[in-house]
């Protein structure tokens, strides 16, 4: 088992499995509803030209979120 990281720390092109949402809140509920759930595989596709937000691929589609949101998502790089 690999060390856990924050989703915001992944490098471009890296994939990871979502492990936990340590914080509750409306934006995290929406991310879950969009299919970003513990156990789901995500890939960091790119960061925006100014470094924020980030684009991830999840369940075959592209989703953007800000780093301030991504840093509260614990992932396990694969």
């Amino acid at each position: 088992m690999q060390a856990q990281a924050k989703l915001s720390e992944l490098s471009v092109g890296a994939s990871a499995i979502v492990r936990a949402y340590p914080k509750a809140g409306a934006s995290f509920l929406r991310l879950r509803e969009m299919g970003v759930l513990p156990g789901t595989s995500v890939t960091l596709v790119r960061t925006a030209p100014l470094g924020d937000p980030i684009e991830i691929k999840v369940r075959g589609y592209s989703l953007t979120l800000r780093k301030s949101e991504a840093e509260h998502i614990v992932v396990e790089p694969v």
Binding site: L29, R30, R32, E33, M34, G35, L50, P53, G60, T64
Partner: protein, 702 residues
């Protein structure tokens, strides 16, 4: 309620539900053709679209196009309306008898989340798998029959863009009996008793049993429920039960909403495993396009080029229809003038109604072209990329990337910009964007800038560099003001949690020109219909102020205006505007151009007795410039010193001088409070900044 539907009864009501970007509008347009009625849900600025489709046997069916939603646990006003209509919570919209769920076939898991919530409602559902061709290209095969069996409802593969599958859909819609979904899923044990208790309470409030269960489940994910006007509130008992459970779970540390979402996705996952077959494919066209479009260097170049193209088109293409409208409005005025006897009625029609409405109508081509491009950017998927690129910058002032296109559009005209803010989900972000958008220097300010620059620079010809330099200064001032006020409002008036940027980047599509054109005409019609009456009313009032009281026979136009109510008002506000360097004659210009900024030029021409300056491209500024240079204060000082010209331009950068914008903000915010606030804060700022510029300039010896 899968009861049979007797012929001759009122048409059956269908709701069309789906995620944003799933091709819902295309399907809706294909089903209803042009038979649509577009309006707003009362009390909330969400578009209400109702159309009529005909079955294969010619039976009419009423279709309600629900706003795009990812979940019924609403996060935006759009989603709140979808939720409320489906739950029968809105008295202004009939509860739909049947529901058509449309999903993007290449994105089944996530799309099924909404479907899963909708199935709970206990109404007959038809599932449409749209964009089957794109799914196939992405290496995705869907076993439709299997999905039909799992869910127990009709499942129809479809390509709405080229009409494939529409007949099958219509056949399914015409079926007298539609089955209810067989899909059963277990509410997780941790929250099951809460759901049961809420369901009982809701049933007690008069909800049918299945719908009560669906609503009970939704209440648990509606964390900070977006309430919109027009929705029936919960009964006291039900909300007490809900609060009781929430307190209990909070103490136990149970994340009930997360449990619920997880269990839905578990159920969906089981179905998807059976139905979806994926074969690996190389990078898609969207991936390749995005590599360039969101590239750290190319991304900016492309964004700049796209925007430059939009603005270039607006300014070059709009010119011809604008001249045409100008010409015909003038001809209509002439015709009325020659066919009616002289008198007040004739003047009311020509100088009031026709001239006033014409001054707005002339911007319609620009507005249409902007709507067209905004529609094009939206339907191709580029809009989301522009928001992605710009989010970082916009977030510095507390906005998000989606505010970018509306703000940028406002450089041409604030009206399409403000109407485009509907794509901003967060209602505070949207309101802030609406409030500051008119500060972006729009094209109606150009004539004022041009005439002031001409009067400001000595000599007959204005050096290009000076002209461009001063113009740039004005644009920068407006843009800086817009961002400054956005920052201020987000910290004071509209404080709140920072907005999110959880946004789907949809695959690129070739634009459907028919849908884009349709959308454009629809928007323009909304503008004309809503702003039209207000514009007409204000035009007539402004005409009256300039035409009464009547000057004695033989007076010139200038004497008439000077002695009119408008002239008196100019005198009355002189003490207020004198510290800005303006006299009462400038005051008349300010008052009369409240209708539209460019009216300043024509009314100033009347005040200073200049005739025939023309308009638009044929505008000849020389006579007016000379008249302005000759204008004097009673003590003989020159009125339009360079400093005063600059001050006047600065005033126009900030002041809210556009009744169409007022009308559209009124409509888009659903209250008179925000447009009034906007007039107050913008014009107030205009006064303060102009005061600083003028007095500062004087102190420095200009």
């Amino acid at each position: 309620m899968a009861s049979s539907h007797p012929a001759g009864a009122a048409p059956r009501i269908y709701a069309v539900v789906g995620n944003p970007n799933c091709g819902k509008s295309t399907l809706f347009n294909a089903l209803t053709g042009l038979k649509q009625k577009v309006g707003n849900y009362p009390g909330v600025t969400v578009e209400k679209k109702i159309g009529t489709a005909y079955s294969q046997h010619g039976q009419p069916m009423t279709m309600i196009d629900m706003p795009g939603a990812y979940s019924l646990a609403a996060r935006s006003p759009d989603e709140a309306v979808t939720r409320d209509v489906l739950l029968g919570r809105r008295s202004d919209t009939p509860a739909p008898e049947r529901i058509i769920c449309i999903v993007d076939a290449s994105n089944l898991d996530r799309s099924l989340y909404l479907v899963h919530q909708v199935l709970d409602l206990g109404r007959p559902v038809i599932l449409v798998l749209n964009m089957m061709d794109i799914a196939a290209k992405n290496g995705i095969t869907l076993r439709t029959a299997r999905l039909e069996k799992e869910l127990g409802i009709p499942v129809i593969p479809c390509e709405a863009v080229n009409g494939n599958g529409l007949i099958d859909l219509k056949l399914a819609m015409s079926r007298p009996d539609l089955p209810l979904s067989r899909h059963a899923w277990d509410v997780p044990a941790a929250i099951a008793s809460a759901v049961a208790e809420l369901q009982a309470s809701l049933a007690h409030d008069g909800k049918p049993p299945l719908s009560a269960r669906a609503e009970a489940l939704l209440l648990l994910t509606d964390q900070d429920a977006v309430r919109v006007s027009g929705s029936t509130p919960l009964s006291v008992r039900t909300s007490e039960i809900l609060k009781g459970w929430q307190r209990r779970w909070e103490n136990e540390g149970t994340d009930w909403a997360a449990i619920l979402v997880q269990s839905r996705y578990d159920a969906i996952g089981k179905i998807a495993d059976e139905v979806v077959e994926r074969r690996p494919v190389g990078s898609s066209a969207t991936d390749r396009i995005d590599a360039a479009v969101t590239h750290p260097i190319w991304g900016w170049i492309i964004l700049g080029a796209v925007m430059a193209l939009v603005f270039l088109s607006i300014f070059t293409l709009a010119e011809y229809p604008m001249d045409w409208i100008d010409h015909h409005v003038a001809a209509l005025g002439e015709w009325v003038r020659s066919s009616l006897p002289p008198g007040d009625l004739r003047n009311l029609l020509t100088d009031g109604a026709i001239a006033g409405v014409g001054s707005i109508l002339v911007f319609l081509p620009q507005i249409l072209i902007l709507f067209f491009f905004i529609g094009l950017l939206e339907s191709t998927g580029y809009m989301a990329r522009a928001a992605f690129i710009m989010d970082r910058l916009m977030s510095r002032v507390g906005l998000n990337g989606r505010s970018f296109i509306p703000m940028l559009s406002s450089y041409a005209c604030a009206i399409p910009g403000i109407m485009a803010t509907r794509t901003i989900e967060d209602s505070k972000d949207r309101l802030v964007t609406i409030l500051v958008a008119p500060l972006m220097s729009c094209s109606a300010r150009l004539p004022v800038y041009l005439i002031m620059i001409a009067a400001l620079v000595p000599g007959d010809r204005v050096p290009l560099l000076t002209k461009v330099g001063i113009m740039m200064l004005m644009y920068l001032l407006g843009t800086g003001g817009a961002f400054g006020f956005a920052w201020l409002f987000r910290r004071t008036l509209l404080k709140g949690a920072p907005s999110m940027m959880i946004m789907e980047l949809p695959p690129y599509h070739l634009p459907r020109l028919r849908d884009v054109a349709f959308h454009m005409v629809e928007r323009a019609w909304i503008f004309v219909r809503n702003a039209g009456t207000i514009i007409l009313a204000i035009s007539i009032v402004l005409w009256f102020l300039a035409a009464y009281p009547r000057a004695p026979q033989g007076a010139t136009a200038q004497q008439q205006l000077a002695g009119s109510f408008a002239g008196m008002a100019g005198h009355a506000i002189e003490p207020l505007i004198k510290p800005l360097g303006f006299d009462w004659r400038v005051g008349i210009g300010l008052i009369s151009s409240f209708a539209a900024r460019e009216v300043f030029v024509s009314s100033t021409a009347v005040v200073f007795s200049v005739e025939n300056i023309g308009e638009g491209k044929t505008m000849n500024v020389a006579p007016l410039r000379t008249a302005l240079r000759d204008a004097r204060w009673p003590d003989g000082r020159a009125l339009f010193t360079p400093l005063v010209c600059l001050s006047l331009m600065v005033y126009y950068v900030f002041a809210m001088q556009c009744m169409s914008t007022v009308a559209i903000v009124w409509r888009e915010t659903n209250s008179l409070r925000w447009p009034l606030f906007q007039i107050f804060y913008m014009t107030g700022t205009a006064w303060v900044v102009t005061f600083i510029v003028y007095q500062g300039g004087r102190a420095l010896g200009f």
